[in-house]
């Protein structure tokens, strides 16, 4: 382990990992030992990906399905952040609210998002509302928990300084707890995005009538394993994009706070 991570070295090692993976994959699928439908090769998947960009499958091109998934994701995720972060901060500030919400929350957060599928479909339908509820249930706990922990761990000196300056309780949340908790909140938003994106696609496998998950279910019925793999690759790729975007925001905020 070196302390100083050389970026060029990291890129090289990352590329080695990817090349090794694709090489092994291509070698196994091209060896003739397995049927092409059992394990399609990387080139077949790539060709299928290009095909699906322009040709419709299961009601739309890949981009149409991705767009549909992203809309659901955005709705559920923003809802989770909009409810989770303020509620977490309020719980960190007001002991009574903490005592009321915590036991309920602690029980609910261990119920996996996929377990909500039957009721999500029953209450909100299989099109938009159901998947949104499922992604909400995946993204909400980390959003709330990290805001709560951030608020709980604010240096008490800042709270005392704010109180000494006559800051009203509501303003202490916006002027002290929120900015002091930003690193923790952003970490929660990153984890929430990951869990939300995962649970959305899982939900679409079961309840949606469009989206990447739906595309994969239809592909499975049609025994188009290359299409299933295109769906998997698209999920991974979009997940990385979401995380990179949030990491960039995180780094920018850290720089602005000067590491303080």
């Amino acid at each position: 382990m070196t302390d100083v991570m050389d970026p060029a070295r990291r890129l090289l090692l990352g590329a080695c990992g990817l090349i090794g993976f694709f090489g092994l994959w291509a070698a196994i699928s091209g060896s003739g030992l397995v049927a092409p439908t059992f394990l399609p090769g990387p080139l077949d998947v790539a060709r299928r990906l290009v095909f699906l960009l322009t040709e419709s499958f299961a009601g739309g091109t890949l981009l149409v399905h991705l767009w549909s998934s992203l809309q659901r994701f955005a709705a559920g995720y923003l809802l989770a952040a909009a409810v989770g972060v303020p509620l977490g901060l309020l719980m960190g500030r007001f002991r009574t609210l903490d005592d009321i919400v915590s036991p309920l929350f602690d029980g609910l957060r261990f119920i996996a998002p996929i377990a909500w599928v039957p009721f999500a479909a029953l209450w909100f339908g299989t099109g938009f509302g159901g998947p949104v509820l499922i992604i909400f249930s995946g993204a909400f706990p980390p959003c709330l928990l990290n805001a709560y922990r951030g608020a709980k761990h604010v240096d008490p000196r800042y709270l005392e300084a704010a109180e000494m300056l006559g800051t009203p309780s509501g303003r202490i949340i916006t002027e002290v707890l929120l900015p002091a908790s930003v690193p923790s909140i952003i970490a929660g938003l990153r984890i929430g995005a990951g869990l939300g994106w995962q649970s959305l696609v899982g939900a679409e496998l079961i309840v949606a009538s469009t989206g990447v998950g739906y595309l994969m279910v239809q592909a499975q019925s049609a025994v188009s394993t290359t299409t299933v793999m295109v769906g998997m690759a698209a999920i991974g790729f979009i997940g990385v994009l979401i995380d990179v975007a949030l990491r960039t925001i995180e780094a920018r905020i850290h720089r602005r706070l000067g590491g303080a």
Binding site: R157, E160, A162, E163, M164, L165, G166, E175, P179, G258
Partner: protein, 262 residues
């Protein structure tokens, strides 16, 4: 009228360990009182009770004529570790107390500008605390307190975290501010010279459980010996009358420290 009165104050923290015992101390309106004492004697706890961060187990702490029940801008605190908000600029840090008081925007700007000028930080209005030296940060904390025009200033070892040179400059500036614009000040320190140089009276505390052992009158000596005719701290500290008081307090404190070693 804004005096501070500790009336038979006792304080024990969880577990019942007695920290403070029968503290009686009056800080008169516009008087500057320093409390010195060995580490852990509870002197900071005295200040925190006047600020409303902690409360006595027995007795009362009064500011003005009312008992302290919560923190408030009438009792501005300057903390040892500054406690500036790192996400706010110099201006925003100084301005928060005025915004809380709903001071109109134009007046706010004017008062913040005055405060910035007073502490000599012109040009740093939009800097963040981490971009400033320790001495500059503590000036901002002092401006943040002064801008509220508080009846009472509570200073908890405000120069303890600064290097020796910066501390001297800050001590001289505080004297200048205090003479220019007198306030009721309670000043906690373990620096005997600092206490004698700054304060009208110095209260000496015993080691735990902390009691007030002795209160030394500095002001009458300062006036009689014309300390204020010397603008530099080292000249004052060379005066025989200063050395005499300092030595007296040192000896008194030393008895406490020697006792603590057994």
């Amino acid at each position: 009228m804004s005096s501070i009165r500790f009336d038979a104050v006792g304080k024990s923290f969880g577990g019942g360990v007695l920290t403070l015992q029968d503290i009686n101390l009056d800080v008169a309106d516009k008087e500057f009182v320093a409390i010195v004492g060995p580490s852990g004697c509870g002197k900071t706890t005295c200040l925190r009770m006047a600020a409303g961060f902690d409360f006595p187990t027995s007795g009362r702490v009064l500011v003005g004529n009312s008992e302290v029940t919560k923190p408030g801008p009438d009792r501005a605190v300057v903390f040892q570790q500054f406690a500036l908000f790192p996400w706010k600029t110099v201006t925003e840090n100084i301005e928060l107390g005025l915004r809380n008081k709903s001071v109109a925007r134009d007046e706010r700007k004017a008062r913040v500008a005055d405060a910035v000028a007073m502490i000599g930080l012109g040009g740093y209005e939009n800097s963040y605390p981490h971009q400033l030296s320790g001495g500059m940060q503590q000036r901002v904390a002092i401006a943040r307190a002064y801008v509220l025009d508080p009846q009472v200033l509570l200073m908890d070892e405000p120069f303890g975290a600064l290097d020796a040179q910066t501390r001297v400059v800050m001590q001289e500036e505080l004297v200048r501010l205090a003479r220019l614009n007198p306030r009721t000040v309670l000043f906690i320190t373990h620096g005997v010279e600092e206490a004698v140089y700054l304060a009208d009276r110095v209260a000496i505390m015993t080691r735990r459980p902390g009691r007030i052992k002795e209160i030394v009158d500095v002001k009458s000596v300062r006036i009689a010996e014309r300390w204020d005719s010397h603008s530099r701290i080292e000249d004052v500290m060379d005066l025989e009358s200063f050395v005499h008081l300092r030595t007296h307090i040192w000896k008194s404190l030393r008895e406490e420290k020697a006792g603590a070693d057994h």
